[in-house]
Symmetry: D2
């Protein structure tokens, strides 16, 4: 039984608590939050957990094996380092920190401590993203890594993610929305962009409400991302095309979230010129699981077996590096900015 | 009755002939083609038309008022100038010429002759494009020009046009596919890009089979176009977002080709954060007319009334200028290239 | 502040409790359930509510104004009559009772007591159903009741409701699924079927897992319903066609749940013969509200103002009468069965 | 080279002529039509064919091997019998005749003559229908006939076919529209209905503009068809559900006309209760061929090899018998009518 201590009982912390409380092999031991009303809510929701005002009571507690951090990002660094230094495993709500240096400190602390560090990039754990990753890895579309054969190549990546309003009015859509696509692509494509250029729209000094990003992978592949929070309709569509076919992941679509369009060999050229598609289409079964429940299960499994999480500290650093480079490019009017290696 | 002479009886010429033969107020007087088999086909299809091997027999004929040119583009210039100099009205299959200079010569000849010159940018005459142009002009989305009020502004334009195979193996997808989007946007947005950057994919020295274009309108608006001829599914989707709403034109969709998503005022912020859309959606009625029939009717009406066609010589020059600048940008690795004014 | 007492803390009771606890103008005073584990759950979820094993403690309590009954249907009748006789307002999870007689007793008790009786037909309160009802009432499709004009007529109603599995293995799909369509149509069409015929499929004596119902409204209109719990894909589609247009309510569709297809006057007959649609399409804005929250709000408003609920006892009787007639028809091999008036 | 003689050069005859003229292995020898304008059109379109006013010139001609009949249905019988008696193969535009007796005479004549008789039920030859038939035959859905295994069973068939206007104002929608579904189901399901009931709507004595048909296959399977010519949107959707899965054929959908929803074994019951689907979805590749071209090719192949066409005389009789029984049921107010065996 892994003892869990949660720091921060706001919107996301409350969801994390619910999921840990429901997970096999874990026990929600304690919750800390400086806000009295939130402590009251935590006590109501989890009567068997200890409730504290001070995060130190979590970090120091001998019956807590893993610390879950869901505070404002500015506090992530100090809390995570302290917990790791105390030998706790750590799960941090994304982003790991506001800046690269603080995030690197966390990664260093995890390495020193030999403890599991995982960043909660929830969307990476959406079942449809796992399905998409398996499709790419299997080489159906191109770019697979199943050894020993020519899996063709990936040719284009296009993503549009629009929201009807801002989630967080203090940050721009690169940090608020594009971060999800950057994380998803890191996992799905299993390669890293080397350069990013970003253009956007800022009104009256507010953070950008619309941005275009071009991620250049240095091998000919470019991923184009469009994010905005000013659309009257929600669009969540990621298209990945390769020499072997094309996959569309439409997260708004309830029934067929992922569709794979195959390329037929030997098709008639005239038919191709005027036709609507060349090969069969399939839509794999996707389990209707909640992504956050999978985050929690993965973290617990890594702690249990001593394995490295999919979204470990290095993953978090990589995503952060792309976000930071994109923001620099945006500020510089769209010039390509190299992505510093973590 | 406007006497029509057609030069070139290939794939497109044959369709033009059929449409002129069926149009009110026109008579297909003669068809010229140097190829014997094509002349035979023309004679079979249009028994009452004179058939000639030599284009001069069209250009010189006193009973021909308007010359329709559907030859390979390299021949457009000389034929069009000769016809205009003889006082004929001229309709040219797009592009007006292979290079800017030849195209400008045609425009100059039309001006001197005081005759109608129209470039057959067929897709601009798709009924759905007309509907889209009216929506933008009316200011529903933003960016309208209906005088005297604040119509808001356009914020983003995204287009994806994929084909399952090349139409013309000798040219790249900028010239083959993006040209349609460039022409459509010229009409729909009623503004001109000042700069374009293009990235693409070329395999073994073949013309590019995939390209991304960013058209910069100089006023903050950027249109992103993606074209390729290597997709296993046909995608034809143009999205235009503005402060007032968003329009999606999906040419593959049979029932609702154009949908307009409105933005609701006073919507609840929490509902917006998690909702799928904010306002009503409508899909205007679109007459199921053949675009080429509308091209022919528009040309005949302009000849009849002495009016300037929507896709006149200047329009053709503008499109050509964007295409040429995009190809230069592609060759230069994606640097922005200024679009020279015609 | 209306004091609420809830009897039954199972799957649905738990949801009702949550919604009453969150509603303005109500206070969840007490919860009763004979099952100890459920009482424990209720105590955990609603620490400020009294928890009892015996329903009598709810019915007798002077600080309870309204009793919410979410027990197995066989118990509804006795509990509801007792509560009404004690002067309580009553909300009953659908169905009001297992048989007509018991349901009629409840309605009689409500009339004698002069108290509000509402049946929780949740789906009738789905925002999209309200939108659909308003469309029909407004006469856009036909069959409207906006006085003084000819609103045309309704011509056909088709509904398919499939589930991937049974909700309740002890009852057939008429009682489990078709009941929702019968209730929705009662509200939306604002007319009553006079006769119903039903055919279905029963395997090895189990309740029917598939059924077709034809509701005959006696005025020429027939509604065809298909329900089953053996489909590998969820279908929730209701189509209502009239002389003025057609509405499709697709509950699986996230973005455009209700679409209204208009009929264009003066359309070209040839275009109609081969076209995809004749008039404009619109998809009204639908608030993303939870149906059960609207049930609770409506009940509280009726109690507060002494008004008759939309889904009052008579509504429940009407739905029950159609269900019972359909089951008789099914048992008799599909012969039409008259629907007895409540 | 099979010599073809065509009788009737109206809307459909003109299409048949074009397809025979383009087919390998056939030569359009002669066309007959009593109408002078149509003869002129035929002469223009097919300059190498003999043109006649009198059908006898087709039937008697020694250089004609096969006679194609596209006259009004009332004339089909006499012409077909005469042609068969002269030893010609015969293709008849559907229906084979207006009444059963005349149709049976044709079938008898074909049997006596030992010649190929095919009824042009074009929609049966739509590539998507062939795909659907193969899916059913293969047992993917249930009801397959691939010997030796348990293919499960078919459980429901639902079809909606709406048109925006009447094709033929003189006949009702059973004869005009439902006939297509009856023919498609005959081929796809490979079984015959034994009984049909039909309800419909007739205004002012005009033929029915809306009809519901229930085809009872006598083995528990019932197919429900809805046809009308008064819808503002075209719906062409056929759903076939079985114990193994479900297929949807939506003819309006350009990209995925046929989708097959699989049923997952061992799926979690809770997931099924609230999920959107249980197994994978696939959409097979469908060649974009013109159905009528396939009709012509099939007829020529049968003549060439002496084989029995898919839509032979018996097929035509079966479809006619269902149509006639449905019309009788409609006239009798919906009572089930037995379908007489041909």
């Amino acid at each position: 039984m892994i003892g869990i201590g949660l720091i921060g009982y706001g919107y996301w912390g409350h969801k994390l608590a619910r999921n840990f409380a429901a997970a096999d092999g874990a026990r929600l031991v304690a919750v800390a939050d400086p806000d009295a009303a939130r402590r009251q809510a935590a006590a109501h929701d989890h009567p068997s957990a200890r409730i504290a005002a001070d995060a130190a009571e979590i970090i120091e507690a001998p019956d807590i094996d893993a610390v879950v951090i869901a505070t404002p990002p500015a506090l992530h660094g100090a809390l995570a380092v302290a917990a790791l230094d105390r030998g706790k495993h750590v799960l941090i709500e994304k982003p790991p920190a506001l800046d690269h240096r603080a995030a690197r400190d966390i990664v260093g602390a995890a390495r020193r401590a030999g403890r599991v560090l995982m960043i909660d990039h929830t969307f990476v754990f959406a079942p449809a993203v796992g399905t998409l990753a398996a499709i790419i890895r299997g080489g159906d579309i191109g770019g697979g890594d199943s050894g020993g054969g020519d899996n063709g190549e990936l040719m284009f990546v296009e993503s549009t993610r629009t929201n009807l309003a801002r989630f967080d009015p203090t940050i721009g859509v690169i940090r608020d929305l594009a971060v999800h696509d950057i994380a998803i692509l890191d996992h799905v494509l299993a390669r890293r962009p080397v350069r990013v250029s970003a253009r956007g729209r800022r009104i009256d000094g507010a953070p950008e409400d619309l941005a275009y990003l071009a991620l250049d992978y240095g091998d000919g592949l470019i991923a184009h991302l469009h994010v905005n929070c000013i659309s009257p309709v929600k669009i969540r569509r990621l298209t990945i095309g390769g020499s072997g076919g094309l996959a569309i992941y439409d997260d708004v679509e309830p029934v067929e979230k992922v569709r794979v369009f195959g390329r037929a060999n030997g098709a008639d050229l005239d038919a191709l010129r005027t036709g609507y598609r060349s090969g069969p289409v399939r839509s794999p079964t996707i389990a209707p699981e909640e992504p956050l429940a999978r985050v929690v299960r993965h973290f617990l499994a890594c702690v249990h077996k001593g394995e490295t999480p999919l979204t470990d500290g290095a993953f978090g650093l990589r995503v952060l590096a792309v976000v930071a480079a994109a923001e620099r490019s945006l500020a510089a009017g769209g010039v390509p900015v190299a992505i510093e290696e973590a």
